[in-house]
């Protein structure tokens, strides 16, 4: 077909080999079309993603003042100051905030992996009819409101709920020396925050894990079994190492947003040991201290740059692999 006429080649993709457009019409057909499709979302993101971040960077180098706007810069070079960042290192609340966040995020990531991995493996090994149903059941909570799912747990954890009472009486039967009273204080503890994070972000752990586990070559398992490996050894030596990209993707997708989490610690956590997201929001909304709030944001991003880069590195490697 293509040999019959000097038909235009695929216009999309790399076009450097094509002759330059000769007429305005051709230019419109080929070049303008292509440029528009790139330029519009590009400009949008530069304007609404990069520019705002530069503003935060600028404000974090300013000094707070009473007035509008509540920030002022030095009038002489270098115009900014690092005072706000120095301040972050001096007040315990910021250190504690970052440490609380990193610790809660790490613990949550660990438990999400512990619960999510066997689930993902179970889904990947299920028959194809079951697999679709099970996957939909994982995705469904991801689509329904995040806030309401957290709210549902608040209902269960409260001191008077059937869940709390039931759990208390079960624990009291088996560990009478440990549990006293008719309820366990679960709300407004770090336990509640970790539980809330695991619950909310579990789909983000399961879906990338499932995507890797589903692609694994089962004949490797059979070969290992034939050579005398026990099921546990097959898992340890084959399944687990091969699913490492999925583990890393899932762990980062839980860890990164969990570190900056604001809603869950606000609703379920202790007021006296806030996570950094809540510190940032309080600094902005209650103290109206823009420069410090901005510095907290920039420092949080600096803390998360390494996990974000790990995530991007593995994503890019996966993309290259599936392309080749």
């Amino acid at each position: 077909m293509a040999a019959l006429a000097p038909a235009p080649q695929a216009v999309q993709g790399d076009e450097s080999h094509l002759p330059k457009a000769h007429s305005w019409r051709q230019w419109l057909d080929r070049e303008a079309w292509r440029k528009t499709i790139i330029a519009i979302p590009y400009l949008w993101l530069l304007f609404f993603f990069i520019a705002p971040f530069l503003i935060v960077l600028a404000i974090s180098a300013g000094t707070s003042q009473v007035g509008i706007p509540p920030v002022i810069w030095k009038s002489t070079f270098p115009f900014g100051t690092l005072d706000n960042y120095v301040f972050l290192t001096q007040d315990d609340i910021y250190w504690q905030g970052y440490l609380n966040s990193l610790r809660n995020a790490a613990i949550s990531t660990f438990f999400a992996l512990l619960i999510g991995y066997p689930m993902a493996l179970g889904i990947a090994r299920a028959s194809s009819t079951w697999r679709n149903v099970l996957l939909l059941l994982v995705i469904l909570p991801f689509w329904t409101s995040f806030l309401l799912r957290v709210y549902a747990w608040i209902g269960l954890l409260g001191n008077t709920s059937w869940f709390n009472r039931g759990l208390t009486s079960i624990l009291a039967t088996f560990f009478p020396f440990w549990v006293t009273g008719d309820h366990i204080q679960m709300m407004n503890t770090n336990f509640a925050v970790v539980l809330g994070i695991v619950y909310s972000y579990l789909p983000f752990m399961i879906l990338p894990l499932y995507a890797t586990l589903e692609k694994l070559d089962r004949t490797l398992d059979e070969a290992a079994m034939d050579l005398g490996s026990k099921p546990w050894e097959v898992f340890r030596d084959i399944t687990l190492p091969l699913s490492l990209p999925g583990i890393i993707a899932g762990a980062m997708l839980v860890f990164i947003p969990a570190t900056g989490e604001y809603v869950i610690p606000s609703l379920m956590g202790r007021g006296d040991s806030p996570m950094i997201g809540r510190v940032l929001a309080d600094e902005f909304f209650q103290n109206r201290d823009w420069p410090v709030a901005s510095a907290v944001a920039v420092a949080l991003l600096a803390v998360l740059v390494i996990p974000i880069m790990i995530y991007n590195f593995f994503q890019a490697r996966e993309a290259r692999r599936s392309a080749s």
Binding site: R34, I37, W44, I50, L137, R149, W162, L253, E261, L280
Partner: protein, 278 residues
């Protein structure tokens, strides 16, 4: 010698109980007669009735729906363009930055996006008198983070699509724009619809970025719920939550089923076309 993977079955049962028991409990207690949210006092639907009389809830819901509709639509258009650019144009200036920009909002903690957008909007308003904080700023913020999700969905659909169909249309003399509207867009339509639905629910659900970018008098439904939930669990919140969860849940399930069926039908059509040409 095939053993049933009892451990995996147990893990699945535990996991799905973990997912669904809290939601089921919440739905159950929304029919509670008692004013105390956690003590069962008989069956009643009075909280649902009270909800319909609550003008604050209705206003917040209407505002949320309008914001979600506008932001999902704009984000879908922009995200589809970005997805095409990334999937089809192998090389252009600034491609690395562009793909970084697209994926950054996916992992960026919401508090950072929220504070940078609100400070940007305030600065912009100081310079050119636009935008006013409220509907406009919330919508602009929602478009910006939803765009990335649409891009990912569209890009992966385009990557798995058979390029030969587009090339055939062009060999037969179609102009690029015609190919786009007659071939490419219909084929990636399920991804575009999925992207729109995803943006819509993300916008309808967002608390943090909305809390930063909202203005006086523009309380969305999640912000209303957030402020109520801080005070504790109440039966009318259970009722409101149940309505939202059931609506969204059934919407997603139906959409998933329709798309699954459309995919199946197309596969069948392709098979039959191949068989007919033999």
């Amino acid at each position: 010698m095939k053993r049933r993977p009892y451990f995996l079955i147990f893990a699945l049962i535990f996991g799905y109980a973990f997912f669904y028991v809290p939601i089921a409990s919440m739905i159950f207690y929304s029919f509670n007669k008692s004013r105390l949210a956690t003590v069962w006092g008989g069956f009643s639907t009075e909280w649902y009735g009270k909800l319909l009389d609550n003008q604050q809830v209705l206003d917040a819901a209407w505002l949320s729906l309008r914001i979600a509709f506008v932001s999902a639509t704009v984000a879908t258009i922009l995200g589809t363009m970005a997805g095409m650019a990334l999937a089809r144009f192998a090389r252009f200036r600034g491609r690395t930055l562009f793909s970084g920009l697209v994926s950054a909002p996916l992992v960026m903690p919401e508090v950072i996006t929220g504070i940078s957008l609100v400070l940007f909007f305030i600065a912009l308003n100081g310079m050119i008198g636009w935008p006013t904080r409220g509907f406009t700023t919330i919508t602009l913020a929602h478009i910006t983070f939803s765009l990335s999700y649409v891009t990912v969905v569209v890009q992966s659909r385009l990557a798995s699509m058979d390029r030969a169909v587009e090339e055939a249309a062009m060999d037969l003399g179609s102009k690029p724009l015609r190919v786009l509207f007659d071939v490419t867009l219909p084929i990636i339509a399920p991804a575009i619809i999925a992207g729109w639905l995803l943006s819509f629910t993300l916008s309808l659900d967002d608390v943090v970025i909305t809390a930063f970018t909202n203005g006086p008098g523009s309380t969305t439904l999640p912000l209303y719920i957030f402020s109520k939930v801080r005070l504790g669990v109440t039966p009318d919140m259970n009722a409101l939550a149940t309505i939202i969860v059931v609506l969204v849940g059934s919407g997603v399930a139906i959409a998933g089923w329709i798309m699954h069926r459309a995919d199946k039908k197309r596969e069948r059509d392709v098979q039959m076309a191949i068989a007919a040409n033999k």
